[in-house]
């Protein structure tokens, strides 16, 4: 490469890129979760890599194919793979196979305290402390999303036709169904646990107010919503799927019913593919189809900051370390940027 071109590329880098490290893994980054001062990333080559500022990532060969799902569990991560294995992995590379489903994929995983959950096909499997055999919950179609509420008393399971919310009482799970035609994917409880929201296989998200099952249809997106995140105290549900980060207000009695969302972080002709809240702030990171990432406050009058320039590959995951000091951005080509969020004082 000639020196001028190098200089030009250097000058186009963002501050975050200049002080960060870039790792080219060569397989799509599928999921990222934070465990203390480390960020674990699952990849399309079956590896889980633990990233930490100042050192090379530790690589764990976990699955044969793709790491389809990942969550944190105590000091470990739980992963589900397309090799049918449900694993518990520690950052020093210790792998504990919780269950092997053979040729069935482990599509979703979830955890709460000492409870480990995964789904394979139409069934959800729940392992509680000191029990070898899982409890099973059956559904009418393949499970596409799992989420605990913040107390771990309710488990939302998304599927075709809506969501089943299971409630734990005296060690028994009872089901309550929330119905909306269509196929539902990723699911989340609002932080106050009054609402559940799903991303659909169509260009919309759907929510229900839990106490009266009132529907909230949030439409108007040009593409599917692959990612959402709760931001701030209001809170806002910020979603991908549009040329902006679309932020739905969930305050008041009615939430977003009859209200317009705020739109921030305009990506021009690029579509937002991943969104991640900055903990404790009313601000969100938004990754786009071209690999760029913007940081924006939930305020239409404020200008967003470009923190990662275009890489040519869609942003597939963003994670922030638990102390808010580090950010990790991964894309579908397997390029990882790990950088400190704040300039050194």
């Amino acid at each position: 490469m000639n020196a001028d071109l190098e200089k030009l590329q250097e000058s186009n880098k963002t501050e975050l890129e200049r002080r960060g490290s870039i790792f080219n893994i060569g397989a799509p980054a599928t999921e990222a979760v934070t465990i203390r001062d480390q960020i674990a990333v699952g990849f399309g080559d079956g590896t889980v890599r633990f990233f930490q500022s100042g050192s090379d990532p530790k690589t764990v060969k976990a699955h044969k194919g793709v790491v389809l799902s990942m969550t944190n569990y105590e000091d470990h991560v739980l992963t589900g793979g397309d090799d049918g294995r449900f694993l518990k992995i520690s950052s020093d590379g210790n792998i504990d196979e919780i269950f092997n489903f053979g040729s069935k994929w482990v599509d979703c995983v979830a955890s709460h305290k000492d409870t480990k959950v995964c789904s394979s096909g139409k069934t959800v499997y729940i392992w509680t402390k000191n029990k070898d055999k899982p409890q099973t919950l059956e559904h009418q179609s393949t499970v596409a999303g799992l989420a605990f509420d913040n107390k771990g008393k309710r488990l939302a399971v998304s599927r075709y036709g809506g969501v089943t919310v299971w409630k734990l009482n005296n060690n028994k799970w009872t089901a309550s169904n929330f119905t909306w035609k269509g196929s539902h994917g990723t699911v989340t409880f609002s932080p106050d646990t009054k609402y559940i929201v799903t991303a659909m296989q169509e260009n919309q998200i759907h929510g229900w107010r839990i106490n009266d099952k009132a529907d909230l249809a949030m439409r108007g997106y040009p593409s599917k919503i692959k990612s959402f995140t709760w931001v701030g105290d209001t809170p806002y549900l910020v979603t991908s799927g549009s040329s902006d980060a679309v932020c739905w207000p969930f305050d008041g009695k009615e939430g977003p019913m009859g209200r317009k969302p705020i739109v921030v972080a305009n990506g021009g002709k690029e579509l937002a593919t991943f969104v991640k809240a900055l903990n404790g702030e009313k601000a969100v990171f938004t990754g786009f189809t071209d690999g760029s990432v913007l940081l924006a406050e939930i305020d239409e009058s404020k200008k967003p900051i470009m923190i990662r320039s275009s890489t040519g590959s869609e942003v597939s995951t963003i994670a922030i370390s638990s102390d808010n000091s580090q950010i990790l951005i991964g894309d579908l080509k397997g390029s990882i940027l790990l950088s400190s969020l704040w300039a050194d004082n």
């Binding site: 060569g26 397989a27 799509p28 599928t30 990849f43 399309g44 080559d45 079956g46 044969k64 194919g65 793709v66 389809l68 397309d82 090799d83 040729s103 069935k104 994929w105 599509d107 096909g121 139409k122 179609s141 393949t142 596409a144 075709y160 035609k181 269509g182 196929s183 659909m200 296989q201 169509e202 919309q204 593409s223 599917k224 579908l332 397997g334």
Partner: protein, 323 residues
């Protein structure tokens, strides 16, 4: 738009016992130097074990968009999206469907779902037919008829068990339902794999391969719900507005009964050929370069479906001719 990074997907249909598993085992075990993933159904025949075999549930979902034809395979959307995250690039994906499945939702998934359409493309629908039993299956099961009707390639398998004149009969029966599929006669599905996988049969320029010889409008049948085909040729240029009105309305109102449609069109005042190809109500259409020099500029359309006689297709097509 042709995107080279799209992985081609072959849909494999056929009744239980026709030989689908034999073909899948060949695809997975032969030394072809390619990487194929195979999505099998939960009711499939046993005997396939390979890292690149994925179990699917054949969950047929209705889309919310109000189009009654828009049933898609929800599980397929999920599985294809998972396969696209693999580090190693797949050369092709093969989707097996159960013998009794309607192939339409599988095909429609590639038209309707944007993520699927961005990363993969429907390559061809391949139907394995049992030369011994096809004739009786066509009488007893409308699914068998649909699988023949939808096919781009038909493997007429087990021909070694059938007398020559019976092969001619079953071949003619297939042709009545589907005049444009390529028929390959096989023993133990022994057709070369490159005639089954990687065909680009759904590419619009393949529409240009429609053989005029197949386009004979004669057809006779016993039941009104039989699947048949009709085709029309016109040497008079068509009026684009009239055609769009007629064809759009036809697919909207009769799309449920029209299983496949294909055509090459010569519009008045247009230098380029227009081609289209459809599955039920959904279709792709685009200009496809100028007409070859020295060849007739004739428009040709083919319909495969049920109850075609009651759609006034001939009259409708004739009315599209420019004055």
């Amino acid at each position: 738009m042709e995107n080279t990074s799209q992985v081609p997907v072959t849909v494999l249909t056929g009744f239980l016992g026709a030989g689908k598993t034999t073909l899948l085992n060949r695809i997975l075990t032969e030394q072809h130097g390619r990487k194929y993933a195979v999505i099998v159904n939960e009711f499939g025949e046993q005997g396939i074990d390979n890292d690149l075999v994925v179990d699917a549930d054949e969950e047929v979902f209705e889309m919310n968009n109000g189009c009654i034809c828009c049933t898609v395979r929800g599980d397929l959307i999920r599985i294809l999206s998972g396969l696209m995250k693999r580090a190693d690039k797949l050369d092709a994906i093969i989707v097996e469907t159960t013998g009794l499945a309607d192939p339409a939702p599988v095909a429609q998934t590639f038209f309707v779902d944007q993520d699927v359409a961005d990363r993969t493309k429907l390559d061809a629908i391949v139907t394995v037919a049992d030369a011994v039993h096809l004739s009786s299956q066509l009488v007893d099961h409308h699914e068998a008829e649909e699988q023949i009707a939808f096919a781009d390639v038909i493997l007429l398998n087990k021909v070694e068990l059938v007398e020559d004149n019976d092969i001619v009969k079953v071949n003619d029966r297939i042709r009545k339902i589907n005049p444009f599929a390529k028929i390959i006669k096989t023993t133990r599905c022994d057709a070369p794999l490159d005639e089954i996988v990687g065909l680009n049969a759904f590419s619009l320029d393949r529409v240009l391969d429609i053989e005029p010889d197949f386009l004979e409008s004669d057809h006779d049948h016993e039941h009104d719900d039989d699947v048949t085909s009709l085709s029309f040729v016109s040497d008079t240029p068509l009026d684009m507005d009239k055609f769009q009105d007629w064809f759009g309305n036809l697919l909207r109102t009769k799309g449920q009964d029209i299983l496949r449609s294909k055509g090459i069109l010569n519009f008045k005042g247009e230098e380029e050929r227009y081609v289209f190809q459809g599955v039920h109500m959904l279709m792709d259409a685009s200009p496809m370069g100028p007409w070859p020099k020295g060849k007739d500029r004739s428009s040709r359309v083919v319909f495969i479906g049920r109850d075609l006689d009651n759609m006034n297709l001939k009259e409708g097509f004739e009315n599209c001719k420019s004055a």
